[in-house]
């Protein structure tokens, strides 16, 4: 947003991710190679001095298709008509780390910055911003734990909530919780489908016979 030109001058690629919602809180998408420099610049520049990282979190974006409809003028039976044309665009999945920055000194903020991984499987590395904002340490560990983003340059990247032997990343959209649904007194929706696999088979004589 503001000072975008200043940032871009340093060779970093920065995109603005517009938030169309009522809050209008747009964010900066920072490329991974220059993330540390950009973060240092945001913290140290006199007019910005974002000295406080209040929140760091992860977002999982699975692979999705976006449909866009555009009106195209077309000749139909010799008459020019406007026809809706839908085009599907496949967006590959990726993981995102989002940081909320404030300036205690200048009393402004939040500035939201994002970083994106290459994909959701093997290219899940991002530079750690803990060297810039110490408060991101535990939150980056949490993102590592629940989303599986590896932060390069993090001083102590371990799981923080789940145990070390745990293999999954529970906050990912495709996470399936372990099958312990054998006793569900009031199941509904997804729980009902999971619990039904544990129901004993009905004895044949109790089955309703159509008369």
């Amino acid at each position: 947003m503001k000072n975008r030109a200043e940032l871009a001058a340093r060779g970093a690629k920065i995109e603005i991710v517009v938030n169309p919602g009522p809050s209008g809180q747009s964010s900066l998408l920072i490329d991974n190679e220059h993330a540390l420099e950009v973060a240092k610049f945001l913290r140290d520049h006199a007019a910005l001095s974002f000295d406080f990282c209040s929140n760091a979190t992860g977002v999982d974006w699975p692979e999705r298709t976006v449909k866009t409809t555009t009106k195209v003028k077309q000749m139909v039976d010799g008459v020019e008509k406007e026809v809706d044309q839908t085009s599907e665009e496949k967006i590959p999945g990726y993981l995102e780390a989002v940081y909320h920055l404030y300036s205690i000194k200048l009393k402004h903020g939040p500035l939201i910055i994002r970083m994106r991984t290459v994909n959701r499987t093997d290219g899940t590395r991002l530079p750690s911003l803990t060297p810039v904002w110490r408060s991101a340490e535990f939150q980056e560990r949490e993102i590592f734990d629940l989303y599986g983003i590896h932060f390069d340059g993090h001083p102590d990247l371990r799981r923080i909530l789940m145990w070390d032997e745990f293999k999954d990343h529970p906050m990912r959209k495709d996470y399936v919780p372990p099958d312990d649904f054998e006793w569900e007194p009031t199941p509904h929706d997804d729980v009902l489908t999971r619990a039904k696999q544990h129901y004993p088979a009905r004895p044949p004589e109790t089955e309703l016979k159509p008369s």
Binding site: L161, M162, W163, D164, E165, F166, K167, D168, P170, Y175, P177, P178, D180, E182, W183, V191, K196, Y199, P200, R202
Partner: protein, 208 residues
Amino acid sequence: MSENNIDEGLRNELQRQGIWVTSMQELYNWGRKNSIWPLQFGLACCAIEMIATAASRYDIARFGGEVFRPSPRQADLMIVAGTVTKKMAPQIVRLYNQMPDPKYVISMGACAISGGPFKQGYNVLKGIDRYIPVDVYIPGCPPRPEALLHAFMELQRKIDEQKLSGADKAQFLKPEQPSEFPVPAFGEHDLNPPANPKTYHPPKLERV
């Protein structure tokens, strides 16, 4: 150890004469039930209610349960007060194993009973009775101190009814009954095993 088979009429007659007759079992259980020392640990908001129960307004000392012990070796009662996360469950079972017999467990609140509002969470144990035997369950979220006192009195009643000899004697007097239970290990996706198959038998409900 004598059986509890004193003639009531004779006992009343003797009591009128200033002689108090009792049985070993009665005396033993009377002593035990009035000095239940709980283990001092809390897991979540239920622990705050447990603290309130121990404080002067509700005063669990009236029932002999005020001596919260910081060591499992000195405790008789484990009040599982709060949400048991899967990361915490092995430590709870270990604490239970370290308590000397006779030992009792109160499962306090919806979370300790079944996981409560977090039942469908990936990180919460769906009831502590998956690993250790529970004597008294208290529903509530969290239960009020009165409810905990009620559970405490229920436990006292239960202790009072325990037999010291005979075929139906108390569990802790039977050497073949286990007093320690296997501690679950941290697995790759869940605790291993997810429940103790020897003691945990969920009711099988037949549904359409």
